[in-house]
Amino acid sequence: MKLLTCPMNGPRNIDEFQSFGPVRARPDPNATADRDWSRHLFRAENRKGVVVEWWRHVPSNYFFLAERDLVSNEILRTFDASELRDRA
């Protein structure tokens, strides 16, 4: 059983969580060409390395962020989404 530490619920079985994929910057709807929209929709970060991605703890419907290594599958850190917003 692989554990994922939820910022709200603590360490839980990773089966309780759903991955929503790497974080992507949202394009400005008024200034984005079709080509860039397609890029936003269809291309996600897939490099071998650490990604920041959205996860949801399904029973509590809580969304948060995790830094995970795509090669070793090590979860380096989990944190509340407000941290990303404050950084931006």
């Binding site: 059983m1 692989k2 089966d15 759903q18 991955s19 994929g21 790497p22 079709d34 080509r35 397609s38 929709l41 269809f42 291309r43 996600a44 897939n46 490099r47 071998k48 990604v51 991605e53 995970r68 795509l70 090669v71 070793s72 599958n73």
Partner: protein, 413 residues
């Protein structure tokens, strides 16, 4: 020793050389460099040499021959997809498998035993009707069968009458089959090398020399190789390899896990697949039951296996065939699948003029080994993409002309 045998022993034809020659010295240049020594790359090399007279071909393989997804797939061959473009392409693939042993002079153990996909809900039955009509329209053998039909095709199935997973019917695809995956790759490798193609194992591409819109050379751990044309056919590493050439593919990598049981006497004479249980089974010619295919629910480049996925597959398999409960598992493994957003491959041109793509094969690549190789060889030889491959172009994502095969893909996603 009988004298009649001695003349064979003294013949110049013996000792027979191995089917696949040892890796030769790398030359400074080739007309075509194929990156990836799996089924697809070797199939392309064979078609280039045999049908297009292009023999200055090097296949570069990072590891050993056909040791990636060619060795890790679950050997399903079928054409019961849902888009006309998809069905037309995979139909040609099935037809090439039907005569592949003759083509390669190598027994690929193709067994066209048919594939039965099960529906446990009315919604799935509706989608089967659509797939069956599309399949018939495109000239494949695909039809919807009712409960009685399912029982006749596969009498050992647990129909679960009145239960939550009652089998309501199925999609019967008489063209479906299976073949020995290793033999497919070895057969192509043997034929290609007999015609002068060089297969370089343990040869890893580490970068591309791009000048203007052309790849001048690829750099490997064994030196620089100049190239006329380049094909990327590296399975789970497609994203990585294309990125080295500056091409960012719309691909995300997920492990796909599968397993086999101990060998059993023959009892399963079709391929069986359940949409709701995300489980499919096929009995190999050795008697092992191959059970797939669980995609991990998040991106990853690791080929580790997990107990979670084995439990999931075992649960589905034992539900369909309860007598499998006491059977032991023999092996488990995973491969890295390069998933595209629309569950269709990316074949054809890249933004670079002489770099060609045979990528995005996700969980559905083995069945296309002959046809992808044939059509990519034609593309490289002619310098343009044939009509049958045009719908699979990389540009389809920019023009929003996706080819959605998600519902017709068997593995769980």
């Amino acid at each position: 020793m009988p004298l009649r045998l001695l003349k064979y022993g003294l013949s110049r034809d013996y000792p027979v050389s191995g089917d696949i020659p040892a890796t030769p010295e790398l030359k400074p240049a080739y007309d075509v460099v194929i990156i990836g020594g799996g089924g697809h790359g070797l199939s392309c090399a064979h078609h280039l040499a045999k049908y297009h007279g292009i023999k200055s071909v090097a296949v570069l393989e990072k590891g050993y021959l056909a040791g990636g997804n060619t060795a890790r797939n679950t050997t399903t061959i079928r054409s019961n997809y849902i888009t006309p473009e998809g069905i037309a392409f995979y139909k040609e693939g099935v037809e090439l498998f039907e005569r592949l042993s003759q083509e390669l002079d190598f027994n690929v153990m193709f067994s066209q035993r048919g594939q039965l996909t099960l529906a446990h809900t009315e919604a799935t039955m509706r989608s089967f009707h659509l797939r069956a009509e599309m399949g018939k329209h495109m000239g494949t053998r695909t039809e919807v069968v009712d409960q009685k039909g399912v029982e006749e095709l596969c009498p050992l199935l647990n129909m679960d009458y009145g239960g939550p997973l009652e089998i309501l019917g199925g999609l019967w695809h008489a063209d479906g089959g299976t073949a020995r995956h290793d033999a497919v790759a070895w057969g192509y490798a043997a034929q290609a090398s007999r015609r002068g193609v060089e297969i370089h194992q343990r040869t890893e591409v580490q970068g591309f020399e791009v000048v203007g819109d052309r790849v001048q050379a690829v750099n490997t751990n064994r030196g620089r190789v100049a190239c006329g044309q380049v094909l990327i056919a590296t399975g789970g590493m497609n994203y990585d390899v294309a990125l080295m050439a500056g091409v960012e593919l719309p691909i995300r990598c997920y492990p796909l896990q599968a397993m086999v049981t101990q060998p059993l006497k023959p009892w399963l004479n079709t391929l069986v697949s359940s949409v709701s249980l995300h489980t499919y089974l096929v009995q190999s010619s050795r008697g092992e039951v191959v059970i797939g295919g669980g995609s991990d629910p998040y991106q990853l480049y690791s080929t580790r296996s997990t107990l979670d996925m084995k439990e999931h597959l075992a649960e589905g398999a034992v539900h369909l065939f309860p007598f499998l409960q006491g059977v032991r598992l023999l092996r488990q493994w995973a491969g890295i699948t390069d998933m595209t957003p629309d569950y269709s491959p990316i074949m054809g041109a890249s933004p670079l003029a002489n770099l060609w793509l045979d990528c995005g094969w996700g969980t559905w690549g083995f069945k296309a080994t002959p046809v992808a190789g044939k059509r990519m060889a034609q593309t490289i030889a002619d310098g343009r993409v044939p009509d049958i491959l045009k719908p699979f172009a990389l540009e389809r994502f920019e023009t929003f002309q996706l080819l959605n095969e998600m519902g017709a893909t068997a593995a769980s996603h």
